[in-house]
Subunit: 411 residues, 2 copies
C-alpha cells in the first residue's frame, strides 16, 4: 500500500483525488500496489466533500508522516509550493507536480535535491496537460539529437485565437466569454501575455537539449494586440494564427521565442483548435513527431499527474537527461532571426511601398480591399532587433500613417 | 560495452546500422555504455559497404555468440524471422523488432518466451514507425482506462489518398507513381488491401486493452476501390478520406475495423497527409491524445528500433500490460455498427430516393451535379452485415442502376 498526500485541493488537486479514487483498479495494477490518498493540504474546509476526512491545514502533518511516500504539489505560484516541495524531497519523499512556475524557476535545484535523496521530482503535467511529452522525449527519442521543439502550449490563448478566427470576434469580447466559461482566469495576464507558454517552452527545451534554459531570457509576446483584421490577413495568406513557444538548437545554444505566429494551414499544428495543445519535436533521425491533447482541464491534467505518481510508487521514474549544472544560452533579440508580417496604414500607396522596399528590401505585399488604406508585407531574415528598428523607422516615413501590427511567421 | 546483432540489412537494418554508428554519442549516453554492432545477418554480400566486416550468412554465428546481448530482427515476413526471434529469446538475448507481421501473429508467444528467460521482446517500431506510441500507452496513460485507439497506420495508402485528393488522380496512376518513388512496394497488396494496418491495429489494441486481439478477426477493407468521385463527395460533405484502423472498447470486447473512412476536415487526423501516420487514443481521464510522425522510412523507423535497443541494453524496458493468455473478442460483422456513405447510380431519381428511404429509413442525400445521374446517401446505426445486405437489395431496386461504392464515416 502506497500512501500519498496532495498539496492543494483546487482544480488539479481535486482531479487527482478523483482519478486515484475512481480509477483505483488500473492505478493499483500499474503501480504494483494499492495507492491511497492519506492527506490533502488546503487552507479551506470542504464540508460534505469526499475529501473532508483527509484534509489538513498544516503541511507538517504531511512532512512528518513517514507513511507518506509521494507528495503531489498541485498548488499554483512559487510560494509556498517551492518550499514545500524542497522540504518533502529532503525528507525522502518523491514529489510530483503540475506547477510549471516552480519547475521553470527552481527545477534544477529540485531535481538535484531529488537525486541527492534518492527520490524523484516528476513534472509531466507541467507541460501540455494530459499530453505525454516528457516521457517520449526522455525514453522514446533516445537515439536522436533533438534539433527543434515547439508548439501550442497554452489552452486559454488557443481557445481565444480559435474563437476569434472562427467567429471574427474581437480579442476583448472572446476573453470575457472565456472567463465566463472558465477557460480564462479572472486575471488572465499569465496566459494572454505568454508567460505561461514561456515557462513551458523553457522546461521542454531544458529536457530536449539536456541543459537548463532560463525562461527569463526567452523573448515573449502575448496575443492581446491580435485583431480580427490580422486574422483576415492570415487567412488571405493561407495561414492560421497560433501562440507558439518555439525553440531551435543553434551552434552555441538555442533560438527561442514565445509569440503569436502565422502558420500555413497545411501544418499539423494549424488545425489544433480550442483548448487543445500540441507539441512538435524534430529529431535528426526520427524526423518530425507531434504530440496532441488536452493542455489543461481537471481530469486530463490529473491523469498526467497520476501517471507520475505511479512511476514514483514503482520507483521506475525515467532518467531525466537534464544537466542541472549547465546553462544553455538563448539568442538575444540581436541574434535571433525571424520572418515577419508587418501591417501598415498609409496616406499614399506608391510612396509607402517604396519606403517599405527601401527598408526591408524587395518584399511581398498583401492587400485586402475591405480594409481600406493599409497593406501587409512579409519580411524575412531579420533579427528581432532589426525588425523593431525598421518598424520604428517605417512608422516615421512620410507616406506611412501607422505600423498596425507585427506578427512572426513559421513554416 | 553492449554488443548487438542485426538480422537483415534491408531498409530498416541499414538504417539501424547508420543510427547506432552516426549517433553513437547519444546512444551510448542514453544506454549507459557503448553500443556496438558486432554482426549483421544477410544472405547477400555488400562489397565495399561499411557493413562488410560485420556480415555473416549464418544465424548460428549470432545465436552462439555469448557477447551478443541484443538481437535486432528487421527482416520481413514470418519466417525465418519468427524462428530466429524465438531462438534468440530462448538463448537469453533480448529481441527488438519492427516486424508487425511477426508481432501480430506470434507476439504473445514471444513475449512469454522473453518473460520466461528474463529478457525483453520490444517492438515500438512495428507500429507507426518513428511515432512513440507503445511507451506512451504503457508508461504515460497509466492512470486511464483506454476506450479507443485508432488512426492512420499505413504511410503508402495515406500517400496515395493524399495525392488522389490533392491532384484528382486515379488510384492506379498514383500507385504507379508511388512505386516509382519507392513509397509503394512492387507487390503493394499488404498496404493497399489494409493487411498491414490490420496487423498494426491488432497490436495497438492488445496493448491498449491488455489482452490479445486476433488480427484475423478484424474486418479489413483496402483502398483499391476508392475513386476521384468518392473523394469529391467527401469534400462536398466537408470530409477527407483516410484509411483508418479503428478499435473501440465495448462491454465484452472490442469493435474494430480497417477501412477507408470519411473524416470531418476539422478532425486532427484529417490533416495528416502524405507518408505521415497518426494515432488517436481516448482515455477515460486523459481524454483525446494524438501521436503523429513518420510511419515508415529508413531513419525514422531505425530511430524507434534504436530506442528499443537502448532500453534492452539498460534493461529498463517498459512493463508490457498485455495478458498473453487472454483473448479479447472482436465484434463480428453481425455486431459491429457503422455509419456509412453509399453512392448509387439511378434511372429515376424520385423512385431511387424512395427505395433508399424504404431500406435505410429517412436518410440524407448528397448530389453533385457534375456526376450526372447518381447521388450519395448517409446511413447510420447499421451493422456491417445489415449494410451489406441492404446495399445488395438496393442494387436490385428497379430505379437503381448500380451501387457504386460504400465508404464508412467517422466523427
Amino acid at each position: 500500500m502506497a500512501k500519498i498526500a496532495i498539496l492543494g485541493y483546487g482544480t488539479v488537486g481535486s482531479g487527482v483525488f478523483a482519478v486515484v479514487t475512481k480509477n483505483q483498479d488500473v492505478v493499483s495494477k500499474k503501480a504494483g500496489e494499492a495507492v491511497e490518498v492519506k492527506r490533502v493540504l488546503d487552507l479551506r474546509d470542504f464540508p460534505g466533500d469526499p475529501v473532508e476526512p483527509y484534509l489538513t491545514h498544516r503541511f507538517e502533518d504531511i512532512l512528518e508522516d513517514e507513511e507518506i511516500d509521494v507528495v503531489v504539489e498541485v498548488m499554483s505560484g512559487i510560494n509556498p509550493a517551492y518550499s514545500f516541495s524542497k522540504q518533502a524531497l529532503e525528507a525522502g519523499k518523491s514529489v510530483v507536480t503540475s506547477n510549471k512556475a516552480v519547475v521553470a524557476q527552481h527545477g534544477p535545484e529540485l531535481i538535484d535535491a531529488a537525486r541527492a535523496h534518492g527520490v524523484s521530482y516528476l513534472f509531466e503535467a507541467s507541460v501540455g496537460g494530459a499530453i505525454p511529452i516528457i516521457r517520449p522525449l526522455m525514453t522514446s527519442l533516445t537515439a536522436d539529437h533533438i534539433t527543434e521543439v515547439w508548439g501550442i502550449l497554452n489552452g486559454t490563448t488557443n481557445y481565444i485565437l480559435t474563437e476569434m478566427a472562427e467567429k471574427g470576434t474581437a480579442f476583448s469580447d472572446v476573453l470575457k466569454d472565456a472567463q465566463k466559461l472558465g477557460y480564462a482566469e479572472a486575471d488572465p495576464t499569465a496566459d494572454v501575455e505568454g508567460h505561461d507558454a514561456c515557462r513551458k517552452i523553457a522546461i521542454l527545451s531544458s529536457l530536449a537539449y539536456g541543459k537548463t534554459v532560463d525562461f527569463q531570457q526567452i523573448p515573449t509576446e502575448g496575443i492581446t494586440k491580435i485583431t480580427a483584421e490580422d486574422i483576415a490577413y492570415g487567412k488571405a495568406m493561407g495561414c492560421a494564427i497560433k501562440l507558439l513557444g518555439t525553440s531551435k538548437k543553434t551552434t552555441h545554444g538555442i533560438s527561442a521565442m514565445v509569440a503569436p505566429y502565422f502558420l500555413p494551414v497545411s501544418h499539423p499544428l494549424a488545425s489544433v483548435n480550442g483548448v487543445f495543445n500540441a507539441i512538435f519535436v524534430k529529431g535528426d533521425m526520427s524526423g518530425d513527431t507531434m504530440y496532441y491533447g488536452s493542455g489543461a482541464g481537471k481530469l486530463p491534467t490529473a491523469s498526467a499527474v497520476t501517471a507520475d505518481i505511479i512511476d514514483a510508487v514503482r520507483q521506475t521514474a525515467v532518467f531525466l537527461d537534464w544537466d542541472t549544472s549547465a546553462k544553455l544560452p538563448v539568442e538575444t533579440k540581436d541574434e535571433v532571426t525571424v520572418k515577419a508580417f508587418v501591417r501598415v496604414a498609409y496616406s499614399d500607396a506608391e510612396q509607402a511601398k517604396k519606403a517599405c522596399n527601401d527598408l526591408f528590401g524587395v518584399v511581398k505585399f498583401v492587400q485586402l480591399e475591405s480594409f481600406g488604406d493599409e497593406f501587409g508585407l512579409v519580411a524575412d531574415g531579420l533579427t528581432e532587433a532589426q525588425l523593431a528598428k525598421k518598424a520604428a523607422l517605417l512608422a516615421q516615413a512620410p507616406a506611412i500613417t501607422q505600423v498596425r501590427n507585427i506578427i512572426r511567421m513559421e513554416e
